[in-house]
């Protein structure tokens, strides 16, 4: 437990000094958001389209930053140093929490901007925030694991999105559907299926990752 916290803190410290991942993620989100906004123009999109756009922006922005945490360890040759002092599961969880924080920061910026610029009317903030909250676990869990995999491969950038997309697609599909419901109805029960699916996905992907991480990390 303590190791998880220490690794998490160390990554925050490092990130605080370089601001690489956070810059990449935020700039990507803002650029895509404005690109989408430009191209749609005055046309008012349906909630269905807006929900999909929101998740696409969220997905691709997170793809630009989530992998950084493992690639950095690999490129600066600190992976072995870390391996020497930490248990694999604490490494995975430490990095997972870091990515979780990164995603939350991204959403804190992205959600108000999206609502303001795209004129997206959320009827039930309860559903919307719950979707984001639970969805983050799945996104960060799967993203961190794929990041660990590609950090050991020779081409990294493009591969991350290619590998994550099929793995994270359940989050995307349920997330879009739940977000649409958040804009259409007020009752929490209406989005029950999606929220359950997101929750189950989060749990399963994190458990599977902890079990499999050992094989990625240890040569």
């Amino acid at each position: 437990m303590k190791q998880i916290w220490l690794i998490f803190l160390k990554d925050i410290q490092q990130e605080f000094k370089t601001r690489y991942a956070i810059n990449a993620i935020m700039l990507f989100a803002i650029v895509t958001l404005s690109a989408v906004s430009f191209s749609i123009g005055a046309y008012t999109a349906t909630t269905r389209v807006l929900a999909a756009l929101f998740w696409i922006i969220l997905f691709f922005s997170s793809m630009s930053g989530l992998s950084h945490i493992f690639i950095r360890e690999e490129e600066t040759q600190t992976a072995d140093t870390l391996k020497l002092v930490a248990r694999p599961s604490s490494i995975y969880l430490g990095k997972f929490f870091f990515n979780l924080v990164l995603l939350v920061l991204l959403e804190v910026i992205l959600i108000p901007l999206f609502i303001a610029i795209m004129n997206f009317k959320v009827v039930s903030f309860q559903i919307f925030l719950l979707t984001m909250f639970i969805g983050n676990f799945g996104l960060a869990g799967g993203g961190t694991m794929v990041a660990a995999i590609i950090s050991k491969a020779s081409t990294k950038g493009a591969l991350f999105t290619v590998l994550s997309f099929p793995i994270l697609l359940p989050v995307l599909i349920s997330g879009i559907s739940a977000t649409r419901k958040a804009a259409e109805s007020v009752k929490l029960m209406d989005a029950q299926n999606e929220l359950q699916a997101l929750l189950a996905y989060g749990i399963i992907i994190i458990v599977a990752s902890i079990l499999l991480f050992d094989f990625v990390w240890n040569e």
């Binding site: 995999i149 081409t155 599909i173 599977a208």
Partner: protein, 226 residues
């Protein structure tokens, strides 16, 4: 595989063609004259799911034993899987054009096979991105298993969110299409014979890589001794 098996397989396949085109009647309500496609399209689609599961099994075996032979098995299983996924997609979308009017509709089955194709594609791009052999095997196996645990979501979640255009005669028994006995016989025997045919293919490829592996090990050991 023995001669007898070959004969059974060939006659079986011939009988299925005859059965599908002559013996079994057409389903009158929904499929109409496209009933025939059903006997061949469904087994192919089923096969690529089967190979996906086999690949996950061998990936697990590889992680357990670290024997590169299992990695080779997982790889050929995925190769055959991607081949049949492409076949199922192509035949399916031709069929979709004829019946539903467009090549692609994002119906749940189409979505699932598309995701399967994406996973297969990702698997091979991962393999090509790692040079060191046992690292490649490990990463590919982990990715296979990771993809495998997300499968239940595609099976249970996607159909709940998008409605289906696919006829559901086998899984959904109270459903819209009622299959006659003769149709059932042809369908299930076609399924079985296709499975046997493809597993045979898989078995041959397995033997091939195994022999290659033995030769390679021999040559490398000889080089080391010199």
């Amino acid at each position: 595989m023995s001669k007898l098996w070959k004969i059974i397989l060939y006659t079986g396949l011939a009988l299925i063609i005859v059965g599908a085109f002559v013996w079994a009647p057409l389903e009158p309500k929904i499929l109409k004259e496209y009933t025939r496609i059903f006997y061949f399209h469904v087994p192919v689609a089923w096969i690529c799911v089967l190979f996906f599961l086999i690949a996950a099994y061998y990936s697990f075996q590889f992680l357990r034993t670290k024997d590169l032979l299992y990695d080779a098995y997982a790889k050929i299983s995925n190769e055959l899987g991607i081949l049949f996924a492409i076949l199922a997609t192509v035949t399916g979308s031709i069929w979709a054009k004829v019946t539903w009017g467009s090549f692609w509709n994002w119906d749940p089955r189409e979505t699932s096979i598309f995701i399967l194709l994406l996973i297969y594609g990702a698997y091979f791009s991962l393999r090509s991105a790692v040079e060191q052999e046992d690292r490649r095997a490990r990463l590919a196996a982990v990715y296979s298993l990771l993809a495998f645990v997300t499968v239940p979501f595609f099976v249970f979640v996607v159909p709940r969110i998008y409605f289906s255009l696919h006829p559901d005669p086998v899984i959904n028994t109270q459903g819209k299409i009622h299959l006659e006995l003769r149709q059932r016989v042809v369908f299930f025997s076609s399924l079985i014979f296709h499975t046997v045919l493809y597993l045979w293919l898989f078995q041959m490829r397995k033997t091939q890589v195994k022999l290659q592996m033995i030769l390679r090990l021999y040559k490398e050991n000889k080089m080391l001794e010199e």
